[in-house]
């Protein structure tokens, strides 16, 4: 049997004496859509930062496709097929939509640090970039400077930049935060569409999004996973209701 797409073994992280993540074990199968929920300050974003290599773990091990990625730089982890989005939009604000996506495509197409290829003439890059721009529904916004897009458009672009490199494990950090109802519905459709056939792990506060999208849910409270299971199981879990769903209704 193939190794899980992502596996966390007793992962711990502390900043100084403050312990944020206290021994998280998690196993996510390839192709699964997994949501991580939990109250504010539970350590969800920190967990994402550990997985994507932004921070190093204090102890424990993180495996991507059965191979340890502990201590690797973010760009190395990205090249191994794991891409992430950010809670606060993190794109290239002075570049156009097309150029933003293209930056995320270049490495995966093998052009790396080339200063001898003309970027506009790279057929595979152009095809891939146009395909992503179309998939995130921004063909009409193609040449707009990213910094002047609407908030919802920037969030869609953020997702486009995240998936453009062809990573098979996608981490989305609160992809619908700050969106209106209709914008959220569109974002959910987009996420469903672009993560087809890939492994998705997302942090999300909007419970309707979580129960709509996720195959499995893990509940993180004070840096520990208190429950992990299908949406039905999580809904019926007493500990979860006490710790989270009951007290913080969304």
């Amino acid at each position: 049997m193939a190794a899980p797409a992502l596996q966390l073994h007793d992962v711990r992280k502390s900043f100084g004496r403050t312990s944020i993540i206290n021994g998280v074990n998690l196993s996510i199968d390839a192709g699964e859509r997994h949501a991580i929920i939990g109250p504010n300050g539970a350590g969800k974003s920190t967990l994402f930062n550990l997985i994507s290599g932004r921070f190093g773990v204090t102890s424990g091990r993180i495996d991507l496709h059965g191979e340890s990625i502990n201590g690797l730089e973010p760009e190395i982890i990205n090249r191994k097929g794991l891409a992430r989005s950010f809670q606060i939009t993190n794109i290239f604000p002075r570049m156009s939509v097309y150029e933003n996506v293209r930056c995320a495509v270049l490495w995966s197409q093998g052009y790396k640090y080339s200063f001898w290829h003309r970027v506009d003439a790279l057929e595979s890059v152009r095809e891939r970039t146009s395909e992503i721009v179309e998939r995130i529904g921004m063909v009409k916004r193609r040449d707009r400077i990213a910094g002047v897009l609407t908030y919802a458009e920037q969030r869609a672009l953020e997702i486009g930049v995240t998936i453009a490199g062809g990573a098979n494990v996608i981490l989305l950090d609160e992809p619908t935060a700050g969106m209106s109802r209709s914008e959220t519905d569109e974002a959910v459709d987009l996420i469903r569409k672009v993560t087809e056939g890939r492994t998705l792990i997302m942090v999300e506060h909007d419970m309707s999004v979580v129960f709509n999208l996720a195959d499995r849910i893990s509940v993180l409270v004070y840096g520990e996973v208190i429950a992990s299971g299908t949406p039905q199981e999580i809904r019926g879990n007493k500990a979860v209701q006490e710790a989270y769903l009951g007290t913080e209704q969304h």
Binding site: E75, N90, M95, R118, V119
Partner: protein, 420 residues
Amino acid sequence: MTRVLTTGRIVFWASVAVAFAVMPLIFSQSFALSMLSQMGIAIIFALSYNMLLGQTGLLSFGHAVYFGLGAFFCAHALNFIGAGKFWFPVTLVPLIGGIAGLVFGLLLGFVTTRRAGTPFAMISLGIAEMVAASALMFTTFFGGEGGIATNRAVGKAFLGLTYGPQIQVYYLIAGWCLVTMILMFAITRTPLGRMANAVRDNPERAKFVGYNPTRVRWFMMALASFFAGIGGGLAAINYEIVTAETLGLVASGNVVLMAFIGGIGHFWGPIIGAVLVTLLQSALSNYTQAWLLYFGLFFLVIIMFSPGGIANLIALHKPVWNAGLVKRLVPSYAIAAVAGSFMLAGFFALIEMIYHFEAKETSSKAFSFFGMKLDPMQVQYWVGVALVLAVGIALVYAVRKVVVRAWENLTVELQQKGAV
């Protein structure tokens, strides 16, 4: 879009080449010719600097290090060729400077590009100081205070090129300038060039799309140093002497000024800056001893009123030009020009009065200012100059609104036309 050589681009570069070719026919005096040569070198240097500042966001205070090292290596190469130790065409000697720049860019850049932002600026300053100090310590290579003298007319003449006459040197510089310009422009359109922009704008995001920002900065630094070294090599050939000043902090500071005055946000900006600064430095110093003061003030005015440099001012007018509405701006600009020259005349006169008042002449301190006699020892001249300046300032202040209004009206019109 996919073709490298679109007709437009061929026409463009061909016209640049033609302009380079006919320049010395129009400006044929020896003074003009040496200034044109200097401009060509400055253009290469300023463009290479903008690969760091404008494209990668690295504010370096030590770019002359690579220019200077390239120059020293070329001076030694010329001397070796002259002594018959090896044969190498003088035409290609700048390439030796480029390789020297590249090697030192890789070596020193490996250290400096570990950091960006202010730490990078400080480290670059430290390296510049270190190399400048070494230049005075290791006299065998750098020649101490006197520098390294050389002779460009060495080796066998190739196609009749001896590089004795300045005109041949000019065409050598012009040729290299054209080639490096095209190459540096092309690099902006490559994966590395684009990722340099990405790293400049958001290094963190660059990491999460698979790029190591330190690597990107390092490679850009190495390439920028390569082109700076070529510029340095041409300087060695042009002046036939290279001193520690060539790689000193003043030279490093000068290229920062060129880039900012021209504008770092556009590829062409530094070219404008290089031409203008060279012109000011050689021409202005012929007219007035206080030229450094004017130069400094000019820089200040640009930074304060057009932080994007002259290139940005030009770019601002492009949509107006395209829409054929320039004539709307002409009246307000003409009024502004009159008011501005009033203010400047008063200002320059005042500076010159102060300058001549301080001067050592004992007989008479009177001097001619644009054909007008000014005497700093007589009070009425001070009053007169102060009056002109005051009126000038008042005029400029009043006229400012006219220009602003003209622009406001124009913006509305442009929006209606859908040009913006």
